[in-house]
């Protein structure tokens, strides 16, 4: 966990409102799957927390982010060759266990699951990927999951690609039996995943300030009524630990 000026090697639109930024940074060598970095976007005050999609070399990470407001819009306008201040890697990522796994991602929650899948595959385990999007135009990283060797299933809410409906619909339609799951995506999806599965982990998204556990801006409640910080205690939590 430290700050570093990273060099932008690529910043390109890969799907509707969704961008891929490749960064040269030595933070890459310290990154665990499911961790995030805080990106300092020029002209904006607070940093933007963005999950690490992929570590592609000892000095290179990939961020995949969605333009949802003015800050991420400005981030999408940054050019190759510009430097960007990163703080990270932050948080507790997904565990890499000695077993097969199903990764379940929704929308811009899909990216951190790619690095996670690659680490399971590197250890010789089978990874099933179930990815949900609003429509085919918003679909991301399907080819990348397949290239890793994941059995990949797609759900779109409008039915324009794969199973029509949610990731749960795709799991049922394809009769997928894996019971250990890792998931990241919108809250309704994480709730549905937590109702269907007991063995696994979910990664949460939150508005943050410090990103390191000091400010208490991003807290969630655990089942006993205690508080947990998404940034420092998470963003990855065991299913059932947090009140979603």
């Amino acid at each position: 966990m430290r700050t570093e000026q990273a060099l932008i090697k690529e910043n390109t639109l890969i799907a509707k409102d969704t961008w891929k930024m490749v960064l040269e940074t030595t933070l890459a060598g310290e990154a665990e799957c499911g961790q995030f970095v805080q990106v300092q976007v020029p002209d904006f005050y607070l940093r933007r927390p963005v999950s690490i999609c992929r570590v592609i070399a000892e000095d290179r990470i990939v961020l995949v982010y969605k333009v949802v407001g003015e800050g991420t819009k400005r981030m999408s306008e940054m050019k190759t060759g510009e430097s960007v201040d990163l703080f990270g890697p932050l948080g507790h990522g997904f565990p890499v266990e000695e077993r097969n796994v199903m990764v379940i991602g929704g929308g811009v929650g899909v990216p951190p699951l790619l690095e996670t899948a690659s680490r399971y595959i590197a250890k010789g385990h089978q990874v099933t990927a179930v990815l949900g999007f609003n429509d085919a135009g918003g679909m991301i990283l399907k080819d990348e999951f397949e290239a890793l060797g994941c059995q990949t299933y797609i759900a779109t809410m409008d039915g324009s690609y794969g199973t029509k409906g949610t990731v749960i619909d795709a799991i049922n339609a394809n009769d997928l039996k894996e019971t250990f799951v890792l998931s990241c995506g919108p809250l309704p999806m994480l709730k549905a995943v937590s109702e269907k599965y007991t063995d696994g982990f979910v990664s949460l998204e939150a508005r943050m300030a410090c990103g390191m556990g000091a400010c208490m801006g991003c807290v969630v409640k655990d089942q006993e009524g205690g508080s947990l910080r998404v940034c420092a205690d998470g963003p990855v939590f065991a299913i059932g630990k947090v009140v979603l």
Binding site: Y45, R207, A209
Partner: protein, 302 residues
């Protein structure tokens, strides 16, 4: 260069202190640098009992700043004494314990419990938090109430009491004078400005608490003005806080009449900001013809 400042209860090796709520109890920043480098640390507010605080979202970005509505989340004074203060004991830095509550009795309870701690050097009476319904800012906006709680805190305290003032008043000088009269050993100013952002898509406030406290560089001129006004009206030392991001800003507060500073929101932008400021301060003081921090303080007296 000599950066030290001597204030009641606070023998600061330099004038830079992370502000309450921006550094927790030091554990996070300690992963990045040696806390002994800091002049002091103002720890997250302590209340008698554990508080979860406000619902989320608690954070919203603003132009050159941010809103927060944390709501004084903390584990309660007993937990803090048992689990957090021992961690800070290992560092050679001053500890300013921020004390908060819903009632006057709450402030007294926290102070009495912390009195016996060797770790706490002074109290920072938080009568200025805009994010709690009772106590807090309610006490800090009325000179008589502010003086009353200050007097009670002084009677209970075995350590110096600094009072943290809110800028959300018509006349901050009248509050400053009232708490000085009541025996305050120093002032910390300013707490956050009450603000709001509305989400254009939902038509509703971004913060679950609706309103929050504005901090960051956007409020620095307000803070400098408040310090300047009060420094001309009271004799007790002032710790300036509000939007500091660099060593030049520290000098600005010292010139306004502050004797030390707290750095708040900028810790979220650059977690190393306090040590960067400490490293850069000699250069900036020299550039403007000062020989020490004390030299600036002496020459700024009016």
């Amino acid at each position: 260069m000599d950066l030290s400042v001597k204030l009641p209860g606070l023998d600061l090796k330099n004038p830079v202190i992370p502000a309450s709520g921006c550094a927790g109890y030091g554990r996070e920043l300690a992963q990045l640098y040696d806390l002994s480098r800091l002049g002091g640390i103002a720890i997250k507010s302590a209340t008698p009992k554990e508080r979860f605080g406000n619902p989320t979202p608690r954070i919203a970005e603003t132009p050159m700043g941010m809103l927060n509505a944390i709501g004084l989340q903390n584990h309660g004074v007993d937990y803090i004494i048992e689990n957090e203060l021992p961690f800070l004991a290992q560092y050679d830095t001053c500890v300013l314990a921020n004390v908060a509550g819903a009632t006057e009795e709450d402030y007294i309870e926290v102070i009495e419990k912390m009195n016996d701690s060797d770790v706490v050097d002074a109290y920072e009476l938080n009568i200025s938090c805009p994010n709690v319904r009772h106590g807090g800012i309610g006490l800090g906006t009325d000179p008589e109430l502010a003086a009353h709680v200050t007097r009670m805190a002084k009677e209970a305290a075995k350590k110096p009491v600094y009072v943290k003032l809110t800028p959300n008043v018509t006349n901050i000088v009248s509050i400053a004078k009232a708490v000085e009269e009541a025996g305050a050993d120093g002032l910390v100013m300013i707490n956050t400005l009450l603000g709001m952002r509305i989400d254009l898509r939902t038509g509703k406030p971004v913060l679950a608490n609706n309103t929050g406290g504005l901090s960051g560089p956007a409020i620095r001129p307000v803070a400098v003005r408040a310090v300047w006004q009060c420094a001309n009206a009271v004799k007790i030392p002032i710790i300036g806080v509000g939007g500091i991001t660099k060593a030049e800003d520290v000098l600005e507060f010292l010139l306004a009449g502050a004797s030390a500073v707290e750095v708040g929101a900028q810790n979220f932008v650059d977690p190393y900001v306090c040590v960067k400021i400490i490293d850069d301060l000699p250069r900036v003081l020299k550039q403007y013809g000062y020989t020490s921090v004390q030299d600036v303080i002496e020459r700024s007296k009016r």
